[in-house]
């Protein structure tokens, strides 16, 4: 076992991990290591060759690799140690990490740990699509990696299942590479991805989006030959008699993203039911002191800009955890829970009074909407929104008074249509 001792260990060298590492350095942490399982930094950004990254942060519309380069350079300039091709196989609650690469096994003792493992794609079996098991079925992200990183085309006549952002981007990408994109199928009554992607990737290319539809069968003996789609009712159950067959040789699945938290669970980090990810406080610290979480392993973000901003906060918190000797030991904790109309809210805990930023997502589209935060039926905040949609994260600052804080009342966050 090769022994290491560091101030901050960051698990994951994607956009969240890099931004967190840079920020930790800027806030006084000295020895920082970023552990990345692939042989490159930047994570999924490297396969996102379309533009639109960095608009909020840099004012320029960058491609994924350009945006990644920006942070990679910052990390390198700041002498942040990078371990590539290195898989973390164990995370302990005492912030010890066991990792492996071609040099051997590594035991990394860290004063604080930042979880930035990102997310993975939901598969056919998460939604149990029946039928045969031929070739030609890819998750949208895997197809994107073949096309953009390995110069390999995955199919010629495509049906895209699910209208998540990766699916929308891939609809356009397949079309640009000469494939026929027959349709994008979405079970919900509204698209799952951002409106700008619906316009720029589907409408601009005349690709039909079929809302309220689901795939009820996949056919094909060796390669995909066709899919059966059906219209669904209000409860998302297929309506019999509405079946339609579509000939295709490829199916791309964009069924949503799942935060990756096998390591968090291993370290006994508390996992929130709604996000399937660590529950954190306003400093993005998990229930285990010194372990912080950010990026898509905390909750799936709309844009990399928002993700980087959050990750910098985690980096700052992790640095302060080790540099600030008389950091307050918080005893009082108040919980933040999603109420009516809200799918989830981050952070789930607040352990100091004052200003805190809440990030939340609507359950379904509302236009207009009223955001309300209450504590024991007392209204702390009311905010009118022009609209609220599940695809757009809502950020809001609330001020928790000392009074409310000591009462330990639960904060409930609601969206009313």
């Amino acid at each position: 076992m090769i022994e290491h001792s560091v101030d901050v260990a960051v698990i994951g060298g994607g956009p969240a991990g890099l931004a967190a590492a840079v920020s930790a350095k800027e806030h006084g942490a000295d020895q920082i290591v970023v552990i990345e399982r692939n042989s490159w930094l930047g994570g999924i950004l490297q396969q996102c060759i379309h533009d639109g990254f960095g608009v909020e942060e840099t004012g320029k519309s960058l491609t994924g690799p350009e945006y990644a380069e920006h942070y990679i350079n910052m990390a390198l300039q700041r002498n942040i140690q990078i371990m590539l091709g290195t898989m973390v196989i164990e995370l302990k609650g005492n912030r010890e990490i066991v990792a492996v690469n071609s040099n051997g096994l590594h035991n990394i003792k860290a004063k604080s740990v930042i979880l930035a493992m990102g997310c993975r794609e939901r598969t056919r079996w998460n939604t149990m699509i029946p039928g045969t098991r031929p070739s030609g079925i890819y998750t949208a992200g895997v197809a994107q990696s073949f096309i953009n990183l390995q110069n390999i085309m995955v199919g010629r006549k495509v049906v895209i299942v699910g209208s998540g952002d990766v699916g929308l981007i891939m609809a356009r990408r397949m079309k640009l590479e000469g494939a026929e994109v027959v349709a994008v199928i979405e079970i919900l009554p509204h698209p799952s991805g951002l409106l700008r992607n619906v316009v720029q990737c589907l409408e601009d290319y005349d690709i039909p989006l079929l809302l309220n539809h689901t795939v009820t069968n996949i056919e094909g003996k060796e390669r995909v030959e066709r899919v059966t789609i059906s219209r669904v009712d209000k409860n998302m159950k297929p309506i019999s008699g509405t079946e339609k067959q579509i000939e295709c040789d490829t199916i791309l699945l964009s069924l949503g993203l799942i935060p990756e938290n096998e390591l968090s669970r291993m370290a006994k980090v508390e996992i929130n039911d709604r996000t399937g990810a660590p529950s954190v406080n306003q400093e993005l610290e998990t229930n285990i002191p010194g372990i912080f979480a950010c990026g898509n392993c905390l909750h799936v973000h709309d844009t990399v800009d928002m993700l980087s901003i959050e990750a910098k906060k985690a980096g700052k918190s992790a640095a302060e955890y080790i540099t600030n000797a008389d950091r307050k030991q918080y005893e009082t904790v108040i919980h933040v829970v999603p109420g009516k109309g809200v799918r989830y809210v981050v952070p789930q805990r607040i352990n100091m009074h004052g200003k805190t930023e809440l990030m939340l997502r609507a359950k379904k589209p509302m236009e207009p909407a009223t955001l309300q935060v209450t504590a024991n039926n007392k209204v702390l905040l009311i905010k009118k929104l022009l609209c609220a949609t599940p695809s757009s994260m809502i950020k809001v600052d609330i001020v928790v008074s000392r009074e409310v804080f000591v009462s330990r009342d639960v904060l409930e966050v609601k969206l009313i249509g």
Binding site: V100, P130, P134, F146, N151, N217, E222, R223
Partner: protein
Amino acid sequence: MKKFQVAVIGGGVIGSSIARELSRYDARVVVFESGSDVASQASKANSGVIHSGINYPSSSLKARLCVEGNRMFQSLAEELAVPVKWVGKFVVARNEDEIAELEHLKQVGESNNVPGLEILDGALVKKKEKNISCCGALWVPTAGITSPYQLTIALAENAAENDVKFLLETKVVEIKKQAHKFFINTTKGEFIADVVVNTAGVFCRDIVAMLEEPDFNVYPCRGEYLVLDKAYSWLVRSMIYPVPPKHMGVLGVHITPTVEGNILLGPSAEFITEAEDARTTKEMMVSLLKNAKEIVPALPDNAVINAYSGIRSKLASAENGGWADFRIEESRNTPGLINLLGIESPGLTAAPAIAKESTRIIAGLIELKEKSNFKLSLNRAKCFSEMSENERTKMIEKDGRCGRIVCRCEQVTEMEVINALSNPLGARTLSSVKYRCRAGMGRCHGGFCTPHIIRIMKDNFGIDIMDIKLKSPNSRLFTGRIREGAQA
């Protein structure tokens, strides 16, 4: 034209077992497999159960070969480094009427020489299996589980190392018998053999029909399964079976732990018209869950991570009750043609005994002289996930690729993928890798490892991307390059 003494048609668990048994002798043996790898049909899609022998009428071939095979399994698994666990099984009775059925099963089992059978009351069952509610159950201690595809692959690879020739993606299209020789025309050329062994499973009738008018029909019967996430392995420790249904000649929907730590629900039983129609259906998914919940009420709805189906090769139709015995015999009309017909459950359990039985028949036709240089077992390297810290360190010191993990969920290294692709059968599909080293079997279903495996196939093995397949000869993964001439 290449000459062999024995041509085995079909690389399932039966064909591979026979090939491996024959590889002990100085005989030139070839196996024709139409798929891109062995275990490409029912041998990879079943419950993986080593049956005890309580379910078959005494004096049937199924009863005898099942009990014999069961006794041979432990040493066979050890020889081949294939996992086996003797978890035992409960046949549960939901009411008093079914208790009488248990008595009957126990009697049949005892007359078949199945040891250790016991009928326990509901409370005792609850003590052993806290999530099972029943009136009583028959405890069958000699039932176990194995990995059916790992077993088939290990048998075939060991046979290949002992000079049996495996021809993959080779479909037999015509057989003629002339002057005591079989002339076998395949998609990969013509071959001559003295003996033909028909282990074509659900396609066994097609092979017979090339030489004579078959005196039987095959009734394909689809069985669908659901696989539960490893996180729910605590639900049961043993196999849980219902009292077998009166018709169909099947054992009913059961709950089976796998050697990997998942739980299987299934199989359904549905007679179908097309022998290759291995689809899964929403109706069966719903019904399997419902059936399983009757036995294990604690079963959650969201635990399913996979679904598949396998096709049974039955010699009796639904109308005729679905039950028929195995047929293992030399054809009367075509001497030298050895038919293995209707090999469905308990075929996996019986495979080692069937191999001995078939070899005895073959020995009556050609001279079989034992080899002096038979290599008993493969030298299988331990996988990374099973290694101790020291073993891992040593392996990585020898070769850095032993420390590069390419499958996150199952912790499979680049070296293990390379070893899987270097198999002696020459099987090189994505599924061949998956079934040999588990890359792609975890909860992300290949999201992380697939691009890495493709890279290894291209860079280490020089496989053209147009030749990369999922699992069968025409299951190409890719349609071309994005930019010709550009480097990836």
